[in-house]
Assembly symmetry: C2
Homo-oligomer: 404 residues x 2
């Protein structure tokens, strides 16, 4: 398996585009994206667990009921959530895709991201459709990835190729993150494509399994968005024998999917609103997988720990504190904690008790832009990783006047 270029257009038979249509006032920021498969594709998605759901979520759920889709249309700058006519607008976006491409509305997924509770007009989208469709190309992944960004500062796209039953397949993905990021059984917007042949049932199963250890292990601020969606289209154009059960081919597909989603998850955390540092929380020695996940995520969600990382302060008591209130059943008297980065590594806690360390060395270890905190529960063989970021002045600044 190896990483390749091309994002969502890396797999055979996918085109993408991004344009500025006018939802945003800033003309240099794209705000409308389209991803299209040449053929009808197996389709699966996971959605936010927030009871307040964006209208596009409800429309996409309906359109994906039969397990197939061909296109995804996405706007940024407006979440189309808590609007009286939200469903009508989301359906209108799908109808525009039919009008300009001939793809049936039922085969179109739709997503929106931006401010909640501001009416979204179809007019700019309608105005931009011709140029969007004209721009569709196998080089369009970067433009699509740009168009779905909000307060993101870094473009997020990855792709891998891998073999299934001797046939070369690929998976590509784009994502946006930044704020209101604390996915629960779904994620902020992530769109994945593959040319691997796989049944809708197996595709759904693979995605559900995957998000447990990728997008659901990311948190920027603990706020689960109303519009989270991770969606995958599999058009089968690689020509492998279709995957219809959990065999070795399924495992190969899962490994490829994981390679893309974990890179996207990392990228979302690294580009958290205001973040200066990616925090990787790795838990080992857990008695079961869920304990490992719960502990890893609780640590990267702690505001206190995140602020300490911003200040390069090796305040490991906050790690212990976050483990203790995580709800996981752990023996706090067995826990070892260490910090590491490209600048070195330093052990700070053993058997739940502090061990002397050099503050000078600790500051050096915590200075770089990627910090790892390793937590050994010394209670079994399971592990998990979560990705977060530091809490900074800029997070407060960005969110003190996001709307205005």
């Amino acid at each position: 398996m190896q990483y390749i270029a091309g994002g969502v257009c890396a797999p055979k038979g996918f085109k993408a585009a991004g344009v500025h249509c006018g939802i945003r006032r800033n003309r240099s920021k794209y705000d409308l994206a389209l991803i299209v498969s040449d053929e009808l594709a197996s389709a699966a998605a996971v959605y936010t667990q927030n009871l307040v759901k964006g209208a596009p979520i409800l429309v996409t759920q309906k359109h994906l009921e039969n397990g197939y889709a061909r296109a995804v249309i996405v706007n940024s700058g407006n979440a189309n959530t808590c609007n009286a006519n939200g469903i009508e607008i989301a359906e209108g976006m799908c109808a525009l895709v039919r009008e300009y491409t001939g793809i049936r509305e039922e085969d179109v997924a739709v997503a929106s991201t931006g401010v909640i509770g501001q009416p979204l007009s179809l007019q700019p989208i309608s105005d931009g459709m011709q140029s969007l469709v004209d721009a569709l190309s196998a080089d369009g992944s970067v433009d699509a990835a740009n168009a779905i960004m909000t307060t993101d500062t870094l473009l997020k796209q990855f792709a891998v190729e891998f073999e299934v039953d001797g046939v070369l397949c690929s998976i590509g993905g784009i994502a946006k993150g930044s704020g209101m990021i604390h996915p629960n059984m779904a994620t902020m917007l992530a769109f994945l494509t593959t040319d691997c042949a796989i049944s809708p049932e197996m595709l759904r199963e693979a995605l559900l399994e995957d998000v447990q250890d990728s997008f659901n292990m990311v948190s920027v601020d603990g706020d689960t968005s109303t519009n989270d969606m991770a969606l995958i289209l599999a058009n089968g154009l690689a020509g492998n024998t279709p995957i219809e059960k959990k065999n070795a081919d399924y495992a190969a597909f899962r490994a490829g999917l994981r390679a893309v989603t974990q890179m996207l998850a990392r990228a979302i955390a690294k580009d958290g609103e205001g973040a200066t540092k990616l925090i990787v929380s790795k838990v080992v020695g857990a008695k079961d997988k869920q304990t490992a996940r719960t502990v890893a995520k609780s640590v990267i969600c702690s505001n206190l720990f995140k602020a300490a990382m911003f200040g390069a302060d090796a305040n490991w008591g906050r790690v212990l504190c976050a483990i203790g209130y995580s709800g996981a059943d752990v023996d706090v008297n067995k826990i070892d904690v260490s910090f590491s980065s490209e600048a070195g590594s330093i052990a700070v806690c053993s058997n739940g008790v502090g061990i002397p360390f050099s503050e000078e060395m600790a500051s050096k270890v915590l200075a770089p832009s990627e910090i790892r905190v390793l937590i050994d529960l010394c209670d079994g063989g399971e592990e998990a990783t979560a990705w977060g970021c530091d809490l900074t002045y800029d997070y407060v600044k960005i969110n003190g006047d996001y709307r205005t």
Copy 2:
């Protein structure tokens, strides 16, 4: 019922003191407090639900098993948590109280607050005991309240007097809060005293009921501390017929207790680390009490909402979002939201959908230092209130270098 002066010394037969003993380097900051009842008192406490528990929590739990106590010793500047000899030190503090006052160690409660994982020496406490005991007086509540503060900027003490069965009783309390504040079934440090006669069982019951709607409805940063404790001593010196069942006297006592604890809870939220604004989240129209509590607390815990309040941005979509992921079973299409303050009031959302409002007026309403967000679930008759604060640059600053 009316508020009176005196804090924990307002009830008959209580003395308190606070001194600087040297746990902190800053000689002008008190770091050791003592509260003593003239008589053995009914005693009850609730503690952090964090699995990592400060050593003083474990010692106090043991000493309060029989339902009685006479004294509380508290230090700030060091949490005595995650230390190998923590229990020994906490027991040593109780032994020092016995040595200097004659009160049995089993009748002494002990609490600590400050940095986790730094060894606490008995030496400064031992050195300070004589002056601490010498300072004990009926005017000592302010000094004790000062001594338990960490990053707190405001002293927190309240007292009320009320009648039980025709007899005038009083309840007083002091508390500290500021950071790592997200109590779960307990709270940051709060010490309450009363001269009301009440059995240990009824006292415990009253405290357990009370914290559900007082300390457990406060959040500063979502981090449940390892050292939370709310403790009450009832020495019976008011002379009322002892309360031994849930009768009208019990109700009168509960009302008095509530009057003190809710003021302390508000004060803790208002003085949250870095806070510039107290946020009062009131939920009405809930189908049951727990739904009201869950929704109210979810809103004041949202980093995004808290940052918006710092920026006086009426971003009500973040209120809806926080309700939606709270886990409460609500009909999101029925929710009304409005903001109010001394500057006026403004409705922003009706039936889950945005309503037009003046941004200018909204900025005015959100400018003062106390903001109320009113959420009507339109689904029943229950209500709850939670207290929080805005998320500011200073929160990040304080916690980026707390330890160093």
